[in-house]
Symmetry: C2
Subunit: 242 residues, 2 copies
DNA sequence: CTCACTTTGTGCATAGGTTCACAAACGTCT
DNA sequence: AGACGTTTGTGAACCTATGCACAAAGTGAG
């Protein structure tokens, strides 16, 4: 059954994660009036190897022309289609604190296929407020709102303590794609897709690499002064002796 | 030189990316007064396999006791140390729009090792405003501010158009770790570490998987009604015929 | 002390991802 | 028309990551 050619050919996760970058670069090229691009040029703009780009694109089909390159418009459309951006995705944001406000007014939301249909927050202070043309409602309105215009993607921007409850309710009304900004691991049925974005995790990964650079003094050339001001005190000289 | 045992043993990137999750779960356990935890319990809380957890932890050293498990405090400290959280990381945020405000007041920042030392924005309307106890300054103050209290990590929360310029200036004053929220690929010297967090990319990845689920009707059991309200209209029936 | 039981740490097999290198396919120029 | 230079698409090799399964190392009871 998985060999059935009628089922869309499988695209590796690593490739899917890069497609949005390709699409963004292509959109910029299109704005600049560029009609055609080679894998070498596009990969340089995105910061990957050209072979990787070609292999990634080969998973979508053969949309390049040998000896020439890729037509910008065509490729952008095909990536959009593969990602599912040619259809409309109704999005709801739960939790309208600082982050929720930032997300709701983020322009990246509206650009491609995503449409904010509902904003939820139980804080009475936010009652009646409108962000980006959408009114903030109490979360208990989820069911009625959902019936009117089904939510495809739920964004959780609440404190960690509320995240699981909110998630359960979203799943209950049929939302199967969730983007979670709360620092909590959500448990969901296996047919629900959760992606987590965590600021603190990213910072910690940066800190790790910064420490590695500081421990082994492996700055290439002429970068010694940069290290100076960056990490002044060596961390735990006993580490070597265990 | 890389075989020198004095240099901290190499930890795979995939492992580093999971360490913050382990640390978060351990912190919660510590708050609950739990003293000891097995790889089975901890891995369940984080959502990975127990073998994966054990292998990840083995990269840090042998901090478990066979037949017993891991002491929560000890393990939390060792992970913190491996990640570099036992030292202090001065952070600056550039761009104090909605997102910048959200980041500055995000509690995850202060919890572990990270300390906001400067907020920058050139918008005159923000002049004099204070967020989380730190005053917003014009970006040109970067150099003087940096001299006083060196910045280790720079967070870019500006529009995409300004990101590269801001990045160049940060690198110029010696910042070698950058967290970029702008939808732009930054070019930096190779000794500078950039991590990008992009909302729109995450949404697009979710959209892809949602579309996949809709195309192949592969909901496991009894989940048919959930699909109902989620994605109503089939996408592009011609795709099969190509 | 010995035995039974638990849980870690790790060697090994498998799966997934990246890079190389080159044949196949296209446009162009003569 | 044919030769030439360019660029794609992909097989194969390499590298990284995951999952299994078990020996090693500990605890506790008898």
């Amino acid at each position: 059954m998985s060999a059935d050619p009628a089922v869309r050919r499988e695209i590796p996760d690593a490739t899917v994660a890069r497609l949005p970058e390709y699409l963004r670069s292509l959109s910029r090229l299109a704005e600049q009036g560029v009609l055609s691009v080679s894998s070498e040029e596009l990969s340089a703009a995105v910061g990957v190897r050209s072979a990787q780009l070609r292999k990634d694109l080969s998973h979508l089909g053969s949309y390049g022309v040998r000896g020439v390159g890729y037509e910008v418009d065509t490729l952008a459309f095909e990536i959009s289609r593969a990602l599912g951006l040619t259809q409309d995705w109704p999005v709801a944001i739960v939790g309208m604190g600082n982050l929720g406000h930032a997300l709701a007014s983020y322009s990246g939301f509206v650009t491609k296929g995503f449409r904010i249909v509902a904003l939820f927050d139980d804080d009475p202070a936010l009652r009646g407020e409108t962000v980006a043309g959408v009114a903030i409602q109490p979360f208990r309105e989820l069911r009625s709102r959902h019936g009117a215009d089904p939510i495809a993607i739920g964004v959780i921007a609440t404190p960690a303590a509320a995240a699981q409850t909110v998630c359960d309710e979203l799943v209950e009304v049929g939302v199967r794609s969730i983007l979670n900004f709360a620092p909590a691991v959500l448990s969901v049925p296996e047919d629900v897709d959760v992606r987590r974005v965590d600021l603190s995790t990213e910072l910690q990964i940066l800190a790790f690499h910064a420490q590695q650079k500081a421990l082994a003094g492996l700055q290439p050339v002429g970068a010694a002064h940069a290290l100076d001001g960056c990490v002044a005190h060596a961390a735990d000289p006993e580490a070597v002796a265990t």
